[in-house]
Homo-oligomer: 270 residues x 3
Amino acid sequence: GYGRFGIMYNDNDSNALLDSSTDLTSRMRLQIDATAESDAGVVFGARARIQADGNGTTNGAGADFNGVRYFARSGGFEVGVGNIFGALESMPGQYPVDMGLTGLGYDYTAFDGNGDAYTSTGDGALNGVEVLYSAGDLAVHVSASDVSDRVAGYVAYTWSGWTFAVGGQDSDNAGDTEWTATAGGSFGIADVTLAYADNGTNGDRVILAGRFDVGAATDVEVYVGDQDGADTGYGIDFNHDLGGGTSLRGGVVKQFDGDTVADMGVRFNF
Amino acid sequence: GYGRFGIMYNDNDSNALLDSSTDLTSRMRLQIDATAESDAGVVFGARARIQADGNGTTNGAGADFNGVRYFARSGGFEVGVGNIFGALESMPGQYPVDMGLTGLGYDYTAFDGNGDAYTSTGDGALNGVEVLYSAGDLAVHVSASDVSDRVAGYVAYTWSGWTFAVGGQDSDNAGDTEWTATAGGSFGIADVTLAYADNGTNGDRVILAGRFDVGAATDVEVYVGDQDGADTGYGIDFNHDLGGGTSLRGGVVKQFDGDTVADMGVRFNF
Amino acid sequence: GYGRFGIMYNDNDSNALLDSSTDLTSRMRLQIDATAESDAGVVFGARARIQADGNGTTNGAGADFNGVRYFARSGGFEVGVGNIFGALESMPGQYPVDMGLTGLGYDYTAFDGNGDAYTSTGDGALNGVEVLYSAGDLAVHVSASDVSDRVAGYVAYTWSGWTFAVGGQDSDNAGDTEWTATAGGSFGIADVTLAYADNGTNGDRVILAGRFDVGAATDVEVYVGDQDGADTGYGIDFNHDLGGGTSLRGGVVKQFDGDTVADMGVRFNF
């Protein structure tokens, strides 16, 4: 797992009733991966998390198990049930950067969570089932659940260092993602990702994001995004590696909802 | 602990309002056994579990500690307090088989839970205390709690590979088990158990159960049961060892309440 | 962490509606300390606990994470945020003894919890921040939180085996501690502590406490206390080391509220 703590600022411009706020932000994530391997080499396992999230109103007390994901894996083939990862959530290019200490709203995720996704503090998809397959440069992921009868999938292929992925979804929810496509790779000085998603009644979203190394231990990430019905969103952050699994992180983001948010702090893996 | 996941079917015949259902079933059990040993050789310890149970309506999110059992043990003598095991629950012959992946209702438990028992997801007996003693072929277990002022005990003796046990209970609850007796052993091709319990106003129950090895890694379990006020219940299952602490399991049971239930899936120990 | 279990008696004289009671008392504390160290030698870490407390009405089921404390430490300097320790709670002399198995009410804590303090089962101080510094015989601790806008601090100095500490606090709560002072050291046959606190509208409290070794593995602790508006309180206990991190403990206390309470049991560290 990991821990992180720092300061979070929000101008709260999207809510006329709120002043700007500056509060502590913190998280402790304890991840429990339990596995066993059959004589035939099939790995069976379960993953659960206890994640305590702190902010201006709590230090995270009361954290308990999230929904559990179970899997059976053999070679490049994996079947998962329970709190599934979800095909769209797992698709390359949906999380092209990791803004600041906390993600700062994750506006840069093209499909915007309009599909099944692993949750660290909730229960996850109901009767969720998924199949993952990878072979060389090819990756395929199909997931389904009782949540709006979602069925989703993606296919990704990596060619000369560039990864192209296309995903689609069928569901009973008009606001769910219809289809999404991403392309990402390296220009030498920068890793760049372009992502698009048709999120039904939640509108289209286009994201352009990049990561630049600016020193032996530091990188800078930026993104700019266009969302139907919202002003342009953008953000910039830095990650400075302190060694030993520790890092200093911070960023500033203009969110689609109009808020400007910023954070800075320390993350450590354990 | 262990994990398991698979499919559960229930025809729900006992409830006219329900159709049959087929859902995921899953469990992740994290067991925490913490002990310390005094210079005199007395072992003090505590056992707690975090158990996440998944089904058609949840992946088990929110799992937290059950009631804790504490103990002091020296040689064949043990005192337990808190979420106690309970004498009747621990008596040889009460769990002669373990049907399918999930137990499939545990109708084959003669005393039918009408006494104090360790619980993996609840709090357990209030002010529970128990004493366990074993010496050679003899085992004695007495337990008491503030739940209906229960006092229960059993004596078991093993003779030429057969184990005979008799248990009794005094309580303020008319539906609690009055007395129960079991006999179990091996006929070579099969392990067989016969169990009887007088469960007060919950009626008498008689169970005949057996386990047969049908291959190097596979066994089949069967039971037939008679319960006052219900049709005959019966069930059959298989357990196939996959090695490395993993197994494939499944079964079908006709329950005393009229439901037919079936399950199949994988279990792995960690 | 540790476990403990035993018997607790309370005459409940402070409540005319209650008879005396004798119940099980138990606790299982699971402490999770997760840390990582940067290349520059700064240690980042998080501490969380899952603590199950049992008594006459529960075996502690439902225990989950408390509020998390995060810290960055380098040499004798430490910054903590979240569920902070709190300066007054951490001040030398505030916990001069540890009565019986359970603390028996902690009346012997001069500042009486009228300040920020680490909690093992709750959330702790909101937006809590603290700085700890120690160098040789000097220790300084300053803490602040959004709880009544508390700011508190202490300075402690150790001289020839005696530790003197003075603490003060500013807050919006008239019942919070204003200032407190303690002195503690050894007379050879006994460790003795004298502590005073001005707890605002909660009155002054003076405590005299001592610990005596009465054998190679046994000590006896006593205290006598004066609290504004209450009769004199006092208590005596014993701790007998059983080796291997296990001990037998028990005590009797006359509390400021008029109750006489007693406990006895076993504690084991793991």
